[in-house]
């Protein structure tokens, strides 16, 4: 009887630890070779044939086609620069310049990567349509209410993520985080 209970206990612990670790690894993005700049994170290696087992498992679980490294690189952000989760009820400012790329797109998604419904059917901006200042920098206001300039609507959802994709760029597997890759800042300005 003691042996039976002992074996059952061990197997339960094994299942809980093993499956729990897999779940956390795949939902928190545990692939190796993360490139973190400010609150933006990219996994350039996920877009190559050298993708590690964690990246492969995450791709299969999410059902996405990753951006291939010869195509571009995709950065995502789920918090602002202060580490606060992005909240669709707040006004958030994205401000600054981007690394050199032929084109880039900024897109707002829900936590599961779905597009968020809004009244003006705007899901993001491309580098061509954004309004810039005279020095080439730009500012985007992400928020539930319409605002002047570049407004990206959140639809008032609680949590969202931002994806900044660069197409035909030198940023990739060999890039080290640092000054040569300027990324725009994300600051929560006001919350109701």
């Amino acid at each position: 009887m003691r042996l039976l209970f002992g074996t059952l206990f061990t197997l339960l612990v094994a299942a809980a630890v093993g499956l729990g670790a897999t779940y956390f690894a795949l939902t928190r993005g545990a692939a190796f070779g993360a490139l973190r700049i400010g609150s933006w994170t990219a996994w350039p290696k996920t877009g190559t044939a050298d993708a590690d087992p964690y990246a492969r498992a995450a791709i299969a679980r999410n059902g996405t086609l990753p951006v291939a490294v010869g195509d571009g690189v995709s950065f995502s952000a789920t918090t602002d620069d202060a580490g606060r989760p992005l909240d669709g009820r707040c006004d958030v400012d994205i401000d600054g310049v981007t690394p050199a790329a032929r084109f880039w797109t900024l897109t707002l998604y829900g936590v599961n990567g779905e597009l968020v419904a809004n009244s003006v059917r705007r899901y993001g901006f491309t580098s061509e349509e954004i309004v810039r200042r005279s020095d080439g920098s730009f500012g985007v206001t992400v928020g539930p209410r319409a605002s002047a300039g570049n407004w990206l609507p959140t639809g008032g959802i609680e949590r969202y993520q931002l994806a900044l994709r660069f197409y035909d760029t030198a940023v990739g597997v060999a890039t080290k985080a640092g000054r040569e890759v300027p990324m725009p800042s994300i600051v929560t300005r006001s919350c109701p």
């Binding site: 499956l19 086609l65 010869g70 571009g72 597009l115």
Partner: protein, 186 residues
């Protein structure tokens, strides 16, 4: 007490093995991965333009709404494929994915340097069967080796502003992927 601690330790070690095994097996057993999602809408060896993603209707998560996308779900068991993609005004790229959605090659319009991107896709075994002189004479022939027999080709074209989406969609819709030769042992 010691006995239970030892059992806990044993469970944790076994859990590590379970973790590694599940991570490795997951891509092979996933039923909602991109390939399976596309298999429901895209026939084999044919370019299928996908509808523009919108809230609630996107086929896959994290699709770029500024990009027109067409896919060719390929199967090379009957012979190599020839792929032609007309270049759209803004930006066009062709990405190749294995059966488990790992990107192994991508090329964009600037790297291809032409008005039409032309590629041949074959398995390593099929590539080795090409006579060598043929390989040399056709120096500008671009051959891509697929690590798996089946997979996905994703053809993207950027619409720099929403009004240009029909043009980008037309460019990816005009792409073709066709089988170049029927296999002798059919």
């Amino acid at each position: 007490m010691i006995r239970w601690l030892l059992l806990l330790l044993g469970g944790a070690l076994l859990g590590g093995i379970v973790h590694i095994a599940t991570v490795i097996v997951l891509p092979r057993t996933a039923t909602q991965d991109a390939y399976s999602r596309l298999a429901a809408v895209a026939p084999v060896n044919k370019v299928t333009p996908l509808p523009e993603p919108a809230a609630g209707t996107a086929l896959m998560p994290l699709m770029d709404p500024a990009m027109a996308l067409a896919v060719c779900r390929y199967d090379l068991s009957q012979g190599p494929l020839k792929l032609t993609v007309p270049v759209s005004p803004a930006y066009t790229s062709v990405s190749f994915y294995t059966r488990t959605d790992v990107a192994y090659y991508a090329i964009n319009d600037r790297a291809a340097g032409r008005r039409v991107i032309e590629l041949e896709l074959m398995t390593l075994a099929q590539h080795e069967q090409i006579p060598e002189e043929e390989n040399v004479t056709a120096a500008d022939r671009l051959i891509v080796d697929s690590p798996t027999t089946t997979g996905i080709i994703a053809i993207h074209a950027l619409a720099p502003e929403p009004g240009l989406m029909p043009k980008a969609a037309a460019a990816v819709g005009a792409a073709t992927c066709t089988q170049t030769q029927a296999d002798a042992g059919r």
